[in-house]
């Protein structure tokens, strides 16, 4: 197991307190336990507000947890001093949902991809020249090339931007990649290319993925095991085919029923009549 989450609870307290009133709190994650094996694609499925993003923020150490443990490769991240947590982040990287918002519009592609290598200079020990060579190597790895080095993000399409985001995440040689809805802002034809790229990269580099999505078709395609999260609780966990073929929770059945399949014969409405 490369990542083990044990009984993780995260409660947010409301900032303002009414005069003499009780302080309200909200439990975003409630006693969550998960294990992700090395080299595995683990899917986390849930609707908006279910706690998916809070969980990733806890793993990255961007959120103080209320109780529980997050063990990455034998190290408990929740007790790690800040400096060591920073070093640990070279091993855990993230690709964000919106490729239009997650790349700095005023930075060149070269600088965007080189920045994590500068931040983790102490771990990687790369000089400026070596960093530039590595940027080209990374661009080629994600299907772009040296001709794209000195351009700005606005010159790229959504799919190309997401490739840049992936190259940036891979810059520091991570073992574990969190993919937070990496294709939800893309067209299906482009989504297919990015999903295949992620699959190839996993084969080539032996990466472990935590793949977050609400698109069950995508999850089924890319993941080995999945967990369904609903209002901070894990309601079902298992192999991807098991859950799709034999869902055991009501929530899983509801989600599967709500997924619109691209087959008119399976429509819940009688759409044949008109015309």
């Amino acid at each position: 197991m490369i990542l083990r989450i044990e009984n993780l609870t995260k409660t947010f307290r409301s900032r303002g307190r009414r005069w003499l009133g009780p302080q309200t709190s909200f439990t975003a994650l409630n006693d969550v336990s998960l294990s992700i094996g090395k080299g595995e694609s683990f899917g986390l499925v849930g609707e908006s507000g279910s706690g998916k993003t809070t969980l990733t923020r806890c793993i990255l150490g961007l959120e103080r947890i209320t109780s529980g443990r997050i063990v990455f490769d034998g190290t408990d991240l929740t007790t790690l001093p800040a400096a060591e947590m920073r070093r640990m982040r070279a091993r855990i990287q993230i690709v964000f949902q919106d490729p239009y918002a997650s790349l700095n519009p005023r930075m060149l592609v070269h600088d965007i991809i080189a920045e994590p290598m500068e931040i983790h200079q102490d771990t990687l020990g790369l000089g400026a020249r070596q960093r530039s060579d590595r940027v080209i190597e990374l661009l080629e790895l994600v299907g772009l090339g040296a001709q794209h080095l000195y351009r700005y993000p606005h010159e790229f399409s959504g799919g190309q931007r997401q490739r840049i985001g992936i190259a940036r995440a891979l810059a520091v040689n991570p073992e574990f990649l969190i993919l937070d809805e990496p294709t939800s802002a893309l067209d299906v034809s482009v989504q297919a290319q990015v999903l295949n790229l992620l699959h190839d990269l996993q084969q080539k580099l032996g990466l472990t993925y935590l793949f977050i999505s609400h698109d069950l078709g995508v999850i089924r395609y890319i993941c080995d095991r999945i967990a369904l999260i609903y209002r901070g609780d894990i309601v079902e966990e298992g192999g991807v085919d098991d859950i799709f073929e034999r869902p055991s929770s009501d929530y899983a059945r509801m989600l599967l029923a709500a997924m619109p399949e691209p087959d008119p014969a399976k429509s819940p409405f009688n759409t044949e009549a008109a015309g």
Binding site: D187, S189, A192, A257, A258, P260, P262, T271, A273, G275
Partner: protein, 342 residues
């Protein structure tokens, strides 16, 4: 003539880099009771087609080069602006993608809905059903009653109380219901819905689709549903039109088009949707991207990306032919209905 009839519509947009031909001969006929899905990649002209019908494309930079849009027999491109104002929110209702940015955060939703109802009533007094001499106060009271009835109709629980809430007090799905209720106040005959469920969770999406379906049955609405989700089209729509780079390249009743997609672009789109039978790494995308519309490729605009392109594809725009009754395809490789199968 169809209820909504778009014939050979050409739209150009003037930009600093030149004039882009964004709609290149759109033909579309929609009858009442039909739900048309308009699908295609980003930038193919789906939204501009929808905006053209409600004449919301600013001009300049937009310029209609040719064609006509007839709505219930009326030529919309020749209708003056005040005539369009009477149609919008009355005969033509619209809902847009993001329910957050389409409600004013500073006003209670009741006030926003009453505004719409009063405007609709000014155009068609039958909306509120008051005598011509009714006072402003009477009109407001009646408009509010109508707004509550519409919220109730679209499934907002406890509508009489929620009407005095602000937009931020509603969830995404509820806000989209509020927008649908608002679009229905003017009793539209045509509803243009531009990605109405893209920002929503699948369970909420399923509820909104059910709602649109029931409204079509009840009011015999004609619906133009703009989306890039083929699943949504397969579930809800009676007809589908697939757009690529400003053209409709395949259209027809939803079942024949989904069962027998004929244009290489439609096939590519359908192959790109992950399905239970796909093994990992086998999903096929369509290489390349949507062409530059300043200097579009000659002939078929898909030709540079098309896996089965031939030299003749670049010669001229392929004519649209019927491969089966109502199922039209614009590809030189399509076989017309009635001819022997190749």
């Amino acid at each position: 003539m169809a209820f909504l009839d778009i014939r050979d519509l050409h739209l150009a947009m003037r930009t600093f880099e030149g004039e882009a031909h964004v709609l290149n001969g759109i033909n579309l006929s929609v009858e009442r009771g039909e739900i048309w899905g308009l699908v295609g990649e980003t930038g193919c002209g789906k939204s501009l087609t929808g905006l053209s019908i409600s004449r919301l494309v600013p001009s300049p930079p937009g310029r209609y080069l040719r064609g006509e849009i007839r709505f219930a027999g009326q030529d919309l491109l020749a209708t003056p602006e005040d005539g369009m104002r009477r149609l919008r929110g009355g005969h033509i209702g619209m809902i847009f993608q993001d329910p957050t940015t389409n409600l004013n955060p500073a006003f209670r939703i009741g006030e926003q809905m009453v505004d719409v109802a009063l405007h609709a009533d000014a155009v068609d007094p039958a909306i509120l059903g008051l005598a011509p001499g009714a006072s402003r106060r009477q009109r407001r009271v009646e408009a509010r009653r109508l707004a509550i009835a519409m919220l109730d109709k679209v499934g907002v629980p406890d509508a009489a109380r929620r009407i005095d809430d602000y937009p931020h007090q509603f969830s995404g799905g509820m806000r989209q219901r509020v927008l649908i209720a608002m679009a229905l106040i003017g009793k539209p005959e045509l509803l243009i819905a531009d990605e109405p469920t893209t920002a929503l969770d699948v369970s909420v999406q399923a509820q909104i689709l059910r709602l649109i379906h029931s409204l079509v049955l009840e009011y015999q609405l004609a619906v133009l549903l703009i989306t890039h989700n083929l699943g949504v089209v397969a579930q809800l729509c009676t007809h589908v039109a697939v757009m690529y780079a400003g053209n409709i390249i395949e259209s027809g009743p939803v079942r024949p088009v989904f069962r027998n997609p004929t244009h290489p672009y439609t096939r590519a789109l359908m192959k790109a949707v992950p399905h239970a039978t796909h093994r990992r790494g086998e999903l096929q995308g369509l290489p390349g991207s949507v062409p530059n519309l300043f200097t579009p490729p000659p002939g078929c605009r898909l030709a540079p990306r098309c896996p089965v392109a031939q030299p003749r594809c670049a010669e001229r725009v392929p004519p649209t032919i019927a491969v089966s009754p109502g199922h039209d395809v614009a590809c030189v490789l399509a076989t017309p209905a009635g001819s022997a199968a190749a």
